[in-house]
């Protein structure tokens, strides 16, 4: 039985429709990440679940119970906010205590829970400080603590790490993941950061324009994107998407783009391609390689001039001019020094790694 279920959710503001007939079910113990660009409706969806916004139409149930018309405090949820939203005039202890305001617990149990959460998050030494005296990472821990003390089954996170610096973000990411493993609770986590989504989630729902574009495990979403939006959104550098035309000749299927043929004979088509069909091919930067050694049986060979290169420590990317646009290829950072602007280099793309999308519908073929 799913713990959290959205059924036919519609949310409109005046004439603007934010969520369109959305259905989503989250199993017990799942770590669901709602991922999408700004304005895709992911935070709206979270606020609807929290009860901070009302649905225009639809039903939300938690643990089989319809909560659509319940107040936020009665839904059995806890939420961590992007700006931490700590009460500035209360101490850390006071903040955690107010987290239990609607729970009507006796003093001993309240203290026990505060002690437990403080120990788990290593904020015991900070209990008598005010939020203004804490660093960003500490505030984030307190905000998580205020959610933990409630001991509810479902935790909501609204971009909790986006106000932290890169190093702290990595640390907290691991810690939230660890908390989920320890507590086995259901987590709904909103972010626009695909690294967070890929590293933490057990399931990802990629959203765009108020619609869930794909719902699946991180691996599924990465290796089998359902449509062009997901393909372009997941992955950094992004997948190279090129318009192409299907050419079928003598039992061989190929996609032709800017004079280069890419062999797609062994591609696992959902629907049979037609000769002359317009498609979009997606090629991940990391699949490109040098002809010969690393790609013994290439599906396509490209001979392209280097436009510019980027080096980020352990990674390097070369941008090559292909027709009137650029394609990104992952290259060995040791080798990138050889690539000069304007040099033409040979690269190969292996068999069975390309993605093909219908140019009209944007769907995976």
């Amino acid at each position: 039985m799913p713990r959290v279920q959205f059924e036919d959710i519609i949310k409109t503001y005046g004439r603007v429709t934010v969520l369109k007939n959305l259905d989503l079910a989250i199993d017990d113990g799942e770590f669901l990440v709602l991922l999408g660009p700004s304005g895709c409706g992911k935070t709206t969806l979270l606020n609807l679940l929290a009860g901070l916004l009302d649905v225009t139409a639809g039903r939300i149930s938690i643990g089989g119970k319809d909560v659509t018309d319940l107040d936020p405090k009665d839904r059995g949820l806890a939420m961590v906010f992007q700006s931490y939203a700590l009460y500035p005039t209360k101490t850390v202890r006071g903040n955690l205590k107010f987290g239990l305001a609607a729970h009507k617990l006796d003093a001993a149990e309240t203290e026990r829970r505060i002690g437990w959460a403080a120990k788990l998050l290593q904020i015991e030494a900070l209990l008598d400080r005010k939020p203004a005296q804490l660093s960003g990472g500490q505030r984030q821990r307190v905000a998580i603590g205020r959610a933990l003390v409630k001991k509810v089954g479902v935790f909501l996170f609204d971009e909790p790490l986006s106000n932290l610096d890169a190093k702290l973000r990595t640390e907290m990411r691991l810690e939230i993941k660890k908390l989920h493993d320890d507590l086995k609770s259901t987590i709904v986590y909103v972010t626009h950061d695909q690294i967070e989504a890929m590293t933490m989630a057990t399931k990802i729902a990629v959203m765009d324009a108020g619609v869930i574009q794909q719902f699946g495990t991180p691996d599924e979403i990465y290796s089998r994107p359902a449509n062009l939006f997901v393909a372009g959104f997941i992955g950094s550098p992004a997948m190279n998407l090129r318009p192409a035309t299907i050419a079928i000749a003598g039992g061989k299927v190929a996609a032709r783009s800017a004079g280069v043929d890419l062999d797609l004979t062994n591609y696992p088509y959902v629907t049979r391609p037609v000769d002359g069909q317009d498609v979009v091919i997606g090629l991940r930067p990391e699949h490109f390689g040098e002809p010969g050694a690393s790609v013994p049986d290439p599906a396509g060979m490209f001979s392209l001039p280097v436009q510019y290169t980027e080096k980020t420590g352990g990674d390097a990317t070369a941008y090559l001019k292909f027709g009137d646009s650029l394609i990104a290829t992952r290259v060995d950072p040791e080798q990138i020094g050889r690539f000069k602007q304007g040099d033409t280099i040979q690269i190969a793309f292996p068999q069975g790694k390309a993605h093909v999308f219908d140019a009209q519908t944007g769907r995976w073929l």
Partner: protein
């Protein structure tokens, strides 16, 4: 000169003499003009104040000599005492003290009433979904600009219907009612500046209107409470018209008693007593300004609340 400057800089730990020292800024013609202008402005207020203060400490004999700028000789506080204790307003000669205590009796209930009501209303309008909140705000806005004189007669009829006309409670109530629109708008705008997420967190944690107000919002309102307090104390203490029209015999506030003291003249005008009475009436708001003024500036400049 330069060697001294270098020596003093060399004394600083770990800093060598700067290669590009900055020239000290001298006094320019522009700053002289500003200083002169400001001095004239200051004199405009200070000269009458000087005359009032010195006169209040003079004897009537010295005042009759006609030199208003002279210092008091002999120096006496008789006028201050008689203005407080036995100056005549009309036929009663009990001084300002009756008015002082009336003013206090008006001040406290109307402060409590107006600030409590407007803080809660402002909180509800700013942070909760109130039906017709927009229309209600518009009405408040209009009300804040209705002059008291227009509604004075109906208010007198209303308050006599409520059997509070002529009592200090009546004056306090009318003060509170008249202050409500503007105070509610002030509180509402202040609470609008509280981050939405804090309110959302409170909704998830407690969800209780009163508990959130008491535990979260009220403790965050320190600055604006000081602002409103100063605003209200000053306006209630300095009010004359309302005290005059709503006050009965023996329930008039200090400002009305002061006016009567100054107007009532038997024989010679007692300038020293009048000046002392005026100063005594002006002291309470001044004290409030000196004590709370620091917070006042913080309060009106505090826009957003940082976590």
């Amino acid at each position: 000169m330069s060697s001294i400057a270098e020596a003093s800089l060399n004394d600083l730990d770990g800093i060598r003499a700067p290669r590009f020292p900055r020239k000290p800024k001298g006094i320019t013609g522009r700053s002289i003009a500003i200083i002169v202008f400001l001095s004239i402005c200051a004199a405009f207020f200070c000269v009458p104040l000087y005359v009032i203060i010195t006169t209040s400490f003079k004897t009537m004999d010295q005042i009759r000599q006609g030199d208003i700028f002279s210092l008091p000789a002999p120096f006496t506080i008789d006028a201050w005492w008689s203005a407080w204790d036995n100056a005549c307003s009309g036929i009663t000669c009990t001084g300002l003290k009756v008015g002082f205590f009336n003013s206090l009796a008006i001040l406290f209930p109307s402060l409590v009433l107006s600030i409590t009501l407007s803080a809660v209303t402002g909180y509800a309008l700013a942070l909760w979904n109130v039906r017709w909140a927009g229309g209600f705000l518009f009405v408040l806005f209009i009300c804040a600009f209705v002059p008291f004189q227009i509604i004075m007669i109906p208010l007198i009829i209303l308050s006599s219907g409520l059997k509070v006309y002529g009592t200090v409670w009546g004056i306090a109530l009318v003060h509170a009612v008249l202050a409500m629109p503007i105070l509610t708008l002030i509180f509402r705008n202040y609470y609008k500046g509280i981050p939405q997420e804090i309110m959302s967190a409170a909704m998830m944690d407690s969800g209780s209107f009163w508990r959130i107000f008491r535990e979260i919002i009220l403790p965050m309102s320190g600055n604006i409470l000081i602002v409103v307090l100063i605003l209200q104390i000053t306006s209630i203490w300095n009010d004359f018209l309302l005290g005059l029209t709503f006050g009965g015999l023996g329930t008039q506030p200090m400002s009305v008693v002061l006016a009567n003291v100054v107007i009532t003249t038997t024989g010679v005008a007692a300038y020293n007593e009048n000046m002392a009475a005026a100063l005594e009436t002006a002291i309470p708001p001044l004290v409030i300004y000196f004590v709370l003024g620091r917070f006042f500036v913080q309060g009106i400049t505090a826009g957003a609340i940082k976590g």
